[in-house]
């Protein structure tokens, strides 16, 4: 029985975990990286770095407001430009995600920065699965992109390393 937790007092304690899942690499990413959306324990989508969103133009445009005041651990602000950088990076690759191309945005998708904390995704066809795909678009700091990247430094490519 857990009698007392540390909630409200800052992080405390260490645990040792063994996870034989072949998706262990992905779970490490989910535990350490910010995305526009994340999963709840029930498995449903909820906003993370995204404050809110709305669909426009019959599903051709997704407008996202980015949460204000969010920062990467190195202090850099996480804003619309961070989202744009993440989008530009993921769109470099034909098959960035190991599970497969089902998490890709369609070729021809563009992202427009409409404010310091707002962006619009423009899709060539309506993409009702786009919200879920946002979890596969990891939003990272400038130091990350210009350092290790997703396989950039070690492999010389982001294909299959997101």
């Amino acid at each position: 029985m857990v009698e007392e937790t540390n909630q409200g007092n800052g992080p405390v304690g260490t645990i040792n975990v063994l996870d034989p899942s072949p998706l262990n690499w992905l779970y490490i990413t989910y535990n350490t990286v910010e995305e526009l959306v994340r999963a709840t324990p029930d498995g449903t989508i909820e906003p993370a770095a995204m404050e809110d969103y709305r669909w426009l133009d019959g599903g051709y445009t997704l407008e996202v407001n980015v949460r204000e005041g969010n920062r990467f651990p190195d202090g850099e602000p996480l804003n619309a430009h961070s989202v744009k950088r993440a989008f530009d990076e993921v769109m470099l690759w034909a098959s960035p995600h190991p599970p497969g191309t089902q998490f890709n945005f369609a070729a021809g998708t563009t992202l427009e920065v409409t404010g310091e904390h707002s962006v619009r995704f423009h899709f060539p066809e309506p993409d009702g699965q786009a919200l879920g795909k946002l979890r596969a678009m990891h939003v990272m700091s400038t130091a990350f992109w210009e350092g290790p990247g997703f396989g950039y430094e070690r492999q010389g490519s982001g294909e299959g390393h997101w």
């Binding site: 857990v2 405390v12 040792n16 490490i28 709840t40 324990p41 449903t44 497969g100 009702g128």
Partner: protein, 343 residues
Amino acid sequence: MAITQMDPFAATWLQLEDRTPRVRLTANPDYWDKDRGPRLREIVLRNDLPFEEALDLVCTTEGEVDVLSGVSPADAEKIETSEYAKLVATDAVFAVAGVINRDAEGLPLADRRARLALNLAVDRDRLVRETMFGRATPLAGLAPPAAVPEEGRLNPHPHDASRAAELWSEAGGAERPLRVAVLGDLEDVARAVAADLEGSLGVGVDVVVYRGEEELPVRRRLAEKKLAQGWDILILGHGAQFAESVVAELHRAFVGATGEFRAGPVVPEFESLFVELAAKTTPPEQAEVSGRIDRFVRDEALALSLCAPQALYAVNRHVDFTPYKTSFEFAETSVDNEHWSRR
């Protein structure tokens, strides 16, 4: 990488593991969402122990293993009777199902009646009760019940051995034994399914198990679809990242044009429904079309629907762990004052 189609490009990656012995995750105390977490200062992911040793350690010691994922139903009782660990379970958004090879030579699996016969031949209730130790739910189509609101859940195919035999015979029956292949640690499921098929359809069934690196050529051949498959039914497990995206991940994978597990021709009716789903942007609309897709897959017997297992964890008694239905995350996890790391 295995390429399924070139235009539009569709591919999946075939992974080999090369894990660091220990990976240390350190909390960011400045994270904006204080209500969520992190509540732990540090998480150490251990890759330096075999699973069986980790299971013994979490059940008999403290300070070695606090959370062990991937627990099999057969090991649940050992944890429940342990002095040091407790069993944590959640109904996962994960399906165990058979890919039906609709191109199999010498079998009528392109015929819906034959595929329906396979589904009617399997006793899912017994599979759940005996093979999965009650820690799973029968599957209707491919959508795990945890991803579907209760009012939208379909009924699984019943176990009806005599109707299965009739349909199998009407479709032309078998000129040779069925070849049931299985990936990973689902051999017990494959053996139970094989026994049901033999008993209901009166056919011989050969079971082939592919483990570890043996899986890779099987997965590649299936994803690429250029060479004939060496099996008639391939049993595997597959999950989704979100409950809302279960059709895009599970149904697409097993049946869709871009599906890495599809074995047989593209199904135009399925593709039409999938295009319809892509155009829906509100959760109620998406749930409605997703439900129709799952019903179509069940009614056309486009997969051998089996069960949705629970995700099981062995957790140290002083750890408050929140399981996720689609993932494995620790933001909400905390330890009490008696935990070894706080004494």
